[in-house]
Symmetry: C2
Subunit: 403 residues, 2 copies
Amino acid sequence: MKAVGIVVEYNPFHNGHHYQAKQARQETDSDVVIAVMSTSFLQRGEPAIVSKWTRTQMALANGIDIVVELPYLYATQKAELFAEGAVSILHGMGVSALHFGSESGKITDFIKLVDTMNEQAPKLDPLIRLYMNQGFSYPKASSKAFSDLSLETQGLSLTEPNNILGFHYVKTIKEKYKSIQPETTLRIKAHYHEETISSDSIASATSIRKAIQEGATIENLKHVIPKETLVALNDYYSYYINFHTWDCYFPLLQYKIMTSTIEQLRLIYECEEGLEYRIKETIREAESFSDWMTKLKTKRYTWTRLQRLAVHILTNTSKETIANGLSTKLPYIQLLGLTKNGQAYLSASRKIRQTELLTKRAKATGIVAHLEEKATSVYIQPLQPKKRIEALRQEYQGPIILK
Amino acid sequence: MKAVGIVVEYNPFHNGHHYQAKQARQETDSDVVIAVMSTSFLQRGEPAIVSKWTRTQMALANGIDIVVELPYLYATQKAELFAEGAVSILHGMGVSALHFGSESGKITDFIKLVDTMNEQAPKLDPLIRLYMNQGFSYPKASSKAFSDLSLETQGLSLTEPNNILGFHYVKTIKEKYKSIQPETTLRIKAHYHEETISSDSIASATSIRKAIQEGATIENLKHVIPKETLVALNDYYSYYINFHTWDCYFPLLQYKIMTSTIEQLRLIYECEEGLEYRIKETIREAESFSDWMTKLKTKRYTWTRLQRLAVHILTNTSKETIANGLSTKLPYIQLLGLTKNGQAYLSASRKIRQTELLTKRAKATGIVAHLEEKATSVYIQPLQPKKRIEALRQEYQGPIILK
């Protein structure tokens, strides 16, 4: 059986995701679609609005055969490390292709760009580093360096978030996992950051989240998300009374910062260049997460970069832990859910899969599992006590199986 | 002008406190009553139900001339260190007498007991330590040691909380502050731990808090607390919507423990003998503070001891910080409030007062002030954002002056 891998957050699952899953299967001629999905906290430094279990349900009902965890260690990283982690997990699952949506839509553009960057690395890398030291983000620094050296970027704008991720998927594949065939399609219509929902059947997850937070009813969303997503969102909300947003965690974050010493903050991952002082100063009188972010923000750091830092503070994740985690070989892959077709693949692929697949979560040993356990416990902390304990127990109940 | 000092928590101020203030003034023939009052967290390891500012107001309206802080460093300690801190502050304020309520009521009993303990120290101390190592609390260990050596305890039961504190006040005075005259009166009627309110005009603070938490109306309490206390409690509650109880802080505490490593917990003050493992294990499925305490409690530790540990975890207070704080000379005394009479005393006593008196709180420097600032920030964290910021600012607005 041939498997194609995709890298997802499903925050929440919508028609565009459904479309991508179909495309991935067709374009790579695969029998199985495997999604590696971020767990509780996402790459943009935000909590997922609903739990990984609910998001897994949504996916299985809409064309995904297997969902496995992209653990905290990778899910909350900048594009490069995020991509490396995700691809290594898909490789561990034995996929022969990786499919991603992009603003470009042409896989040859990505491949050529990676080739150019590899060939020109001796000249490009120092220049990119120079611009980054001047305070430019990686995409901006790269595009300035390309322009300085009059290199072709294949028309690939690396300021587009899905192009950046795609670039890093292809780069990782070419460096380490040559057996995987990369493939991309044009993301249709909705851009990643687009904030309003149109009448079309495709809307960005950002715009859907925004609509939900502004009180959109199920009726308002039914043309952009599958029925199962609607039901799952609705069930989650009725049971837990809230979606998970930064506002649920801000009192904890503020408490954490107020009680931490400067030295303790400095140990946190991504807390660099004296940011600990600025964090301490700005938190005291902050009224909400966005109020704090506005006070904290400077030109030097992107909003996303600071949100990720906030996640690491919230979860008390140190530089040392991440460094140790990233230097360790991927210890296991955690299964979140699967269909019958997914089960068939797991049996058929036993020999080609490279990494241990945990069907039930074990008692955490090792950095990846410990980080994940801690992130989960933070994620569920705003729930009411009895529901928090239920959510805690769910972690050990094994994967969701779609009959 | 002659000043008498008293050591108080006023959680909340009631008729018994009013009575003690009068007695202190009369029995020591003093012009001024100075109260050194615990700030946000109390000796039994609990948050004060209302802020130190509100409790200061209550005191000034009812016979106290000056209220100064008993800072976190001393206020959350076992009797010995609590007493040493409190007496050193009153000494710094230039008091010539210290008055306390006790279950005994006879100052000669305390003095004789302290003398006996000092004389018999070579035999007593190793025996007390032996019993404490066997898991007995200090009071129990002492009384067992006394009985082994057939020594007179002057009928002073050291299992009574106010006798214990009184004993340590007298001990500290005899060791370090001989210029202070100790004095005690019998606590009338209500015992410290008594949980129900009778029809008498004296009730314990414990019983009053219990009644308040069970929804007692002002009407129910007006025979046991002064009018000003009623009004202040009522104002506080209407403005902040809640009194401060452990339940307000439990989500923060649970979050803190869930995100701390075993090594980080071990650094916390009073976290001894592997308690960190028990803390981690029991917190996961705890539904409330009292549920957790019940799970955590063993014979070896008193409830109070564990509650104090919980306070130190909540405020992220390390062994190192406390050790450094306790080894430092009292750096300043923070004024919380005063009457006209109190103002006159401050002018008159300028030369005899030994320690700098801060009328306005300064930017925190030094361990005592840092600890205090941190404890305040934790204390006010459950308030709504705008009210939290107001409470934060109040810290720097200077003392309450009763006109």
